[in-house]
């Protein structure tokens, strides 16, 4: 890049948390994603958390309409999008009001002054329209007021764009400025704009101009005397890409289907925050992927069952309310003993709850939520990358054990992103469907004759001699014919439960995430709390405490090593974004006096919250 840089102080930082916030129409998500991309490309470790309103276009300028994008990047390993931010970029008064509590004491605010006019102040609810940028209430912070709108318009003078279109380039001015502030060059952002606007020369030119104007502004303005630099992180060597949790889930499912040599059928009904899995899979039809946007959640899962019956890998995904609707069909899939993957991208509940916020409150629904005794394996992903691994494992279990499998992720990791050193396809294990081609009992075919793992065969329609009838009604052992025999029913309930319990035989030995193999405190987590717990556990260890962290991927059945492990620590702490669902399962299963740390605010834990709770428990 040929932009001259004046001499200004450069401060080095190990890690920085920056939060971009503005109206949902301000292009905040794009700005955040672009800056993330640039840092990842530079070699930083990154973690992101977009936070958007439930409404597509909530009234402009209001608190309800604030969209945010938080990025944590560093020269060290990063596990979470960060607790509090170092830099808060706000496009209007509402964005400041909604997010000031997330800024560290003494942190930096970059505010677009145009978003603090009388109207914006009133809409944001500032009493008497008092302007926080000028009334001294922000004295504890480093405040930079920048008239982004005016400077963007100036930069675009002479173009034929209308005022509205010019103002849409504001986010590029901000991106240019932030790139300057963190000593990044513009090459990556320029490349991105060329790809996005390549054919629309005028828009490309305008966005590039705004981007450069932002950068120059940082360089020339007297108010900014300091730039920051975050050096590359010691990341393992290799080729990386960025991946969100929902992308990871989609790719994990697809990779699993490929490794099982099955077509993937994905039946789903649009729901936040699961829809991106449908969007991603529908782009990959050249892999034999069939996506079916069903008329409702019930049809979504029922169509997937039909596809599995026909010999494809049936998959459905939703969030809590949709999963509730699928419940009856999950019982059918359990009864039929067909492969099926059910993904629940959890969100705040109950009922419609908090559609765009995160929660882990569907664990009991997954483990217990069916009529009759219908145990279905439940596994959970802990990070965006882990979504890939666990989706792949969900396919493995479903296909090799002839059972529906529930995969739990949540809105936090589904939308969050991190760098992924993606695997080579040859390093992924093959998956072996339990297909049967001929009779399995002398001359006869028994659809419910089980193998040594208690798994029944998968007999696809179209094969002569294997005609059989299956259904949700209780069936006779081995033959699958309708049976109301009392003793047979008890036998079948136990056989089906045993089959699912024996899935634990395939799990690798339980492994601590960090910490001593025995000691004072074990923190047990599951799902998206991973980063916050790991950060807290490492800090506690550095302070000399005997603290270990185990993160559960298998929630039903549990890993066989979990019971013995729990007994090796004096205390057990279970942080969850619910009222204590895993804690109760652990207590019931292992008679362990597990203590809970429970946050039910639709927002993830900060590592500080877990740190404090652990210290309290250690002192007790």
């Amino acid at each position: 890049m040929d932009i001259p840089t004046r001499t200004k102080t450069v401060q080095e930082r190990r890690n920085v948390v920056i939060l971009f916030a503005g109206d949902s129409g301000d292009g905040i998500q794009l700005t955040g994603a672009q800056f993330t991309d640039t840092n990842a490309l530079f070699g930083n470790d990154v973690s992101t958390f977009p936070n958007f309103p439930a409404e597509i276009r909530a009234p402009q300028g209001t608190l309800a309409g604030v969209s945010g994008f938080q990025l944590h990047f560093g020269s060290v390993e990063i596990f979470t999008p960060g607790d509090l931010c170092d830099v808060l970029v706000v496009m209007n008064a509402a964005a400041l009001k909604a997010n000031l509590s997330k800024l560290k004491q003494g942190g930096t605010i970059i505010a677009n002054t145009d978003g603090f006019d009388k109207k914006n102040l009133r809409l944001a609810g500032y009493i008497d329209q008092a302007d926080p940028l000028t009334d001294g209430t922000l004295a504890a912070y480093t405040l930079h007021s920048v008239d982004v709108t005016k400077m963007t318009r100036n930069a675009l003078e002479g173009t034929t764009l209308g005022m509205k279109e010019k103002d849409r380039c504001k986010n590029m001015f901000v991106l240019g400025f932030i790139n300057w502030m963190f000593s990044r060059d513009l090459a990556n952002s320029e490349r991105f704009l060329q790809q996005k606007f390549g054919k629309k020369a005028e828009l490309l030119d305008a966005n590039l101009r705004a981007l450069k104007a932002g950068y120059h502004y940082g360089d020339t303005s007297e108010t900014f005397t300091t730039r920051f630099e975050v050096k590359p992180a010691p990341m393992p060597k290799g080729t990386y890409r960025s991946i969100t949790g929902n992308q990871g889930t989609a790719l994990g499912l697809l990779a699993g289907a490929q490794k099982a040599k099955l077509d993937l059928f994905y039946g789903s009904y649009p729901i936040t925050p699961a829809s991106d899995i449908l969007h991603e899979l529908s782009r990959h039809k050249n892999f034999g992927v069939l996506t079916f946007q069903a008329e409702d959640e019930i049809a979504a899962i029922a169509s997937a069952i039909g596809a599995s019956y026909g010999g494809a890998l049936g998959v459905t995904a939703s969030s809590g309310p949709g999963i509730a609707l699928k419940t009856e069909a999950m019982g059918l899939a359990f009864m039929l003993e067909l492969p099926l993957v059910i993904v629940n991208v959890q969100r705040g509940g109950p009922s419609t709850g908090l559609p765009t916020k995160t929660e882990q409150a569907d664990l009991w629904q997954a483990v217990h939520g069916r009529n009759g005794e219908a145990p279905i394996p439940v596994i959970a992903a802990s990070t965006p990358i882990d979504c890939f691994d666990m989706a792949f494992e969900a396919v493995q279990i479903a296909v090799e054990h002839m059972t529906p499998v529930i995969l739990l992720t949540d809105g936090y990791i589904a939308n969050g992103a991190e760098p992924w050193r993606f695997p080579a396809s040859k390093d992924l294990p093959a998956i072996t469907p339990n297909f049967i081609k001929g009779p399995n009992d002398g001359e006869a075919f028994l659809p419910y004759l089980r193998d040594e793992r208690s798994v029944r065969p998968w007999a696809l329609p179209g094969q002569p001699g294997l005609q059989h009838r299956i259904g949700g009604i209780e069936k006779q052992d081995r033959t699958g014919n309708i049976s109301y025999d009392p003793a047979n029913h008890e036998k079948m309930v136990r056989l089906r439960a045993e089959k699912v319990a024996r899935i634990a035989d395939r799990f690798k030995p339980i492994r601590l995430d960090t910490g001593p193999p025995e000691g004072e405190l074990l923190i047990v987590g599951w799902g998206s709390t991973y980063g916050a717990i790991r950060t807290a556990a490492l800090a506690l260890q550095a302070e000399g405490h005997s603290v270990a962290h185990v993160h559960l991927r298998h929630l039903f059945p549990f890993n066989k090593g979990l019971g013995p492990l729990l007994k090796k620590y004096k205390r057990v702490l279970v942080p969850e974004m619910n009222s204590g669902q895993l804690r109760q399962l652990l207590r019931a299963e292992f008679l362990v006096d597990a203590q809970g740390l429970n946050k039910i605010q639709g927002m993830p834990f900060t590592s500080e919250e877990i740190h404090a709770a652990a210290l309290n428990l250690l002192k007790s």
Partner: protein, 343 residues
């Protein structure tokens, strides 16, 4: 010997009946339908292994157990969705769906309309007996207003569905009606349904002799059938009552005419099963037979429309994607569009 779950696969002659004991009430109209389906399958030359029956819940939905084919007895109302998924991945099979008035039009009402609009290739046999039989006698969405049943001792307050008008409204591509008491007609209609590519829906009037005996007897019994039932055939005039009455179209409205000195069969509406607008009128001939001077109830194939099936369009997209992007390369997919390397 036939095969069923757990018995030998040895088979001498093609016989589509399974060895399971049929458990419908003696005298149930379902027996007649089962017999005609078995006969049709045997005559069609289909192989047993290429036929799949999917059902929901209800008396009719036990049907798959009595056929030596592949079968899935699913959950209440959801058979259309299961069929849609199965069909998407298995265009090679002959798929049949067995449902009833409660299963298809009440709990499964949403699914059936979407199956029809998508035009999934399946033969849907809708057993209509205007009652809930398996749950022992509650009114159904096709029971007439005022029907006195176990759940409506003072008479039903619900207006019933006209099932075929619903099917037409959902753009069904094969619409037909038959009755359990006319096996020959049923077999002919079923054969037509089987030959059609797309969702073929056949409403079959089926007598529940336990909870709703005689619901359709006006249309099915010898004494009243000629006056109250109209059997339509493609290219033939709408004539009934042993040739003494017909239906003509005047100013876009159907009218009953007496064939004799004033009118001849040439004045009647000639049935054209390709005509969507006439089909909309035909399905609307739904007068209560107790009403004086009403229209007769039509039977036969009302409407046939060839449009692409849902699975054909899905498969075409996969093919097109493969032509455009090549067969999926998992490594390229995992790599994505944008990478960087740490050395």
């Amino acid at each position: 010997m036939s095969t069923t779950n757990g018995t030998t696969t040895a088979s001498v002659k093609v016989d589509f009946s399974s060895d399971q004991e049929v458990r419908w009430c003696p005298g149930c109209g379902d027996y007649s339908i089962l017999k005609q389906v078995q006969t049709l399958l045997e005559q069609s030359g289909k192989k047993k292994e290429e036929v799949v029956f999917i059902s929901g819940i209800g008396c009719s939905s036990r049907f798959p157990y009595y056929l030596d084919t592949y079968g899935l007895h699913s959950i209440h109302g959801r058979a259309p969705a299961i069929v849609s998924g199965l069909r998407s991945v298995r265009p090679d099979l002959s798929v049949w769906m067995i449902t009833g008035d409660g299963d298809a039009l009440s709990i499964g009402g949403n699914h059936i309309i979407h199956l029809l609009r998508r035009n999934v290739d399946v033969n849907v046999l809708l057993f209509n007996n205007q009652i809930y039989g398996l749950t022992k006698g509650q009114y159904s969405p096709t029971s007439p207003e005022g029907a006195v049943t176990r759940s409506t001792p003072m008479g039903s307050t619900d207006h019933p569905f006209n099932p075929l008008a619903l099917v037409k409204g959902a753009d069904g591509t094969f619409i037909a009606r038959s009755m359990d008491r006319d096996p020959k007609h049923m077999r002919e209609v079923l054969a037509r349904a089987d030959a059609h590519r797309g969702t073929s829906l056949v409403e079959i009037y089926q007598n529940c002799n336990v909870f709703n005996d005689g619901a359709f007897e006006t249309f099915t019994e010898k004494a009243t059938k000629p006056i109250h039932s109209l059997f339509v055939e493609h290219g033939k005039p709408l004539v009934y009552a042993n040739g003494t009455k017909g239906i003509c179209l005047k100013d876009m409205r159907p009218r009953v005419i007496d064939i004799g000195p004033e009118f001849s069969a040439n004045d009647c509406w000639v049935h054209d099963e390709r005509d969507a607008f006439k089909a909309s009128l035909l399905v609307r001939l739904f007068d209560d037979p107790r009403m004086e001077g009403g229209f007769p109830r039509p039977f036969g194939v009302f409407y046939v429309n060839e449009r692409a099936t849902h699975e054909a369009k899905m498969t075409a997209q996969v093919k097109a994607a493969r032509e455009r992007k090549g067969e999926g390369d998992l490594d390229a997919l995992l790599k994505g569009e944008h990478t960087w390397t740490i050395v």
